[in-house]
């Protein structure tokens, strides 16, 4: 019997929600890491018991947690207690240090601050963890200030793939309202050297050589809030999604505009169509129908809650442009929540499950591809991220 495990990161800890394949009754475990911001948790596709979590705090900085038993127990990789004579050897732990060397990439430069002035890169937190498709000990981290790091030893040590920050446009990047974060990492299952990332507010980027060199892939994006609306970089991309069965076809929720690319990001076109607003954060793709996509429109710029006080997921079965509201089981009055960029996911079961979490602390699940919804939980802390593991 299949099982589903939903990994939820919130402002005050993590929660793990489990159900059988029917996805009707749920067990809720948590909070884990109580009181800490858990920006993201994600399991390894090769070893589902290996889960990585980004644990962060304004007081104590960034930690990475790792579980080897599906979330029952956790450890800080490299953080074992060391009694005895070796106690004074300085161990390496979850340390994110920008690569400023001449030999790998370019020396550290500056990016733009909110006021357009040059500002040095300062590490703040890990927004997104993306485990390798083939090795449970290899994992990528998208961080603020925007950069991508890689670990090949189960998150004990990290090194920056400095070619992203150093490829040339870095000094033009600027923070979005949430900070200058690298929030999306997509690994191409058909080409192990191809990785996509997205940064607010710089845009989308791609490497075809395993992270050594990168290029912006933002042609076709139009952002009226930057001096040159069609600039190579500067676009506030909120999230990008790809169905792994159809690599190269990408869907993007930008600050405004929902976009798609059919050529690995070389060219984008708008597919906002009849959405009530083309602003939002999340976007995801049905597990088995690569032209079926989901967004949650949000009212902006000032409000950042759902329009008309109604929580509606919009689904397109035509790859965009034609959208239908999905409302069954979702609040249709007095609702003022947001759905943040990493807070939607799909499972792999035959009837595709769709999941999302809100800033109001609800996690909604649909076991029928969005036709109807149920709240698994109502009252968690504000949800930052949702990921799903489909277990056999």
């Amino acid at each position: 019997m299949s099982q589903v495990r939903v990994l939820v990161g919130t402002r005050k800890g993590a929660f793990i929600l489990t159900s059988d394949g029917k996805r009707e009754k749920w067990e809720v475990n948590g909070p884990l890491f109580t009181g800490w911001e858990i920006y993201h948790l994600k399991g390894s596709p090769v070893d589902p018991n290996r889960i990585y979590a980004s644990q962060t705090s304004g007081w104590f900085g960034q930690l990475i947690q790792r579980s080897n038993d599906g979330g029952k127990t956790w450890e800080t990789p490299g953080g074992d207690i060391k009694p005895g004579p070796d106690a004074f050897q300085k161990p390496a732990s979850n340390k994110f240090v920008y690569d400023a060397s001449d030999s790998t990439g370019k020396p550290m430069t500056t990016h733009q601050f909110y006021d357009g002035k040059p500002h040095p890169w300062e590490f703040k937190r890990v927004w997104h963890l993306e485990p390798s498709l083939t090795d449970p000990d290899t994992v990528y981290a998208g961080v603020e200030d925007a950069a991508i790091f890689k670990s090949t030893d189960g998150a004990k040590t990290w090194h920056e793939l400095a070619g992203l920050r150093g490829h040339g446009t870095g000094p033009q990047w600027q923070p979005g309202a949430g900070g200058m974060c690298l929030h999306t990492i997509i690994l191409d299952p058909s080409d192990p050297k191809r990785v996509y990332v997205a940064i607010s507010a710089a845009g989308a980027f791609r490497t075809d050589d395993g992270g050594v060199t990168w290029k912006p892939i933002n042609k076709g994006l139009y952002s009226q809030y930057i001096p040159n609306p069609t600039a190579e970089v500067g676009h506030c991309v909120h999230h990008v999604a790809m169905n792994p069965k159809r690599p190269g076809v990408l869907f993007m929720q930008k600050h405004w505009d929902v976009m798609r690319s059919d050529d690995a990001g070389e060219q984008w076109r708008e597919i906002s169509g009849n959405l009530p607003t083309d602003f939002g954060f999340v976007i995801d793709v049905h597990a088995h129908e690569p032209e079926t996509i989901y967004v949650v429109p949000i009212k902006s710029d000032g409000e950042h809650f759902v329009p008309d006080a109604k929580l509606r997921v919009y689904r397109s079965k035509t790859g965009g442009n034609e959208w239908e509201p999905l409302t069954k089981g979702l609040p249709q009055s007095n609702c003022y929540v947001n759905v943040l960029r990493d807070a939607m996911a799909v499972d792999q079961l035959d009837s595709c499950g769709v999941y999302f979490g809100t800033t109001g602390g609800q996690v909604y699940a649909s076991n029928d591809a969005g036709d109807s919804w149920n709240a698994i939980v109502h009252d968690l802390p504000a949800v930052l991220s949702v990921e799903v593991q489909t277990l056999q």
Binding site: F60, G79, P91, N94, K95
Partner: protein, 99 residues
């Protein structure tokens, strides 16, 4: 033995319940105490001092003997009461509500 008191979140992280007892070779300073603490509990690396600059994280303070030692040089000797184990070295999180 040097006595160190951690804020609750770091006690949970380090799997300790109350004071931490550390052997620290002379001189007993902020730096040598924190070096010993991080070596004994590597999961605390980066949580009290920045990984790179080794500067105290801005929302933390160091107290001992009813004094704020946060702005003392990291290599200055700590009070004799701390080095003798009579008084603990306190790592305090800023009182900050709201979120």
């Amino acid at each position: 033995m040097i006595r160190v008191v951690l804020p609750q979140h770091l006690r949970t992280l380090a799997h300790v319940s109350s004071e931490v007892m550390l052997e620290v070779t002379d001189p007993v300073t902020q730096r040598t105490v924190l070096d010993a603490l991080e070596a004994r509990y590597p999961m605390l690396l980066g949580t009290i001092r920045d990984h790179v600059t080794q500067e105290r994280r801005p929302f933390l303070r160091f107290f001992a003997c009813e004094e704020d030692l946060s702005h003392e040089p990291p290599d200055a000797p700590l009070p004799e009461a701390v080095s003798s184990g009579k008084e603990p070295f306190l790592v305090i999180g800023a009182i900050a509500g709201g979120r």
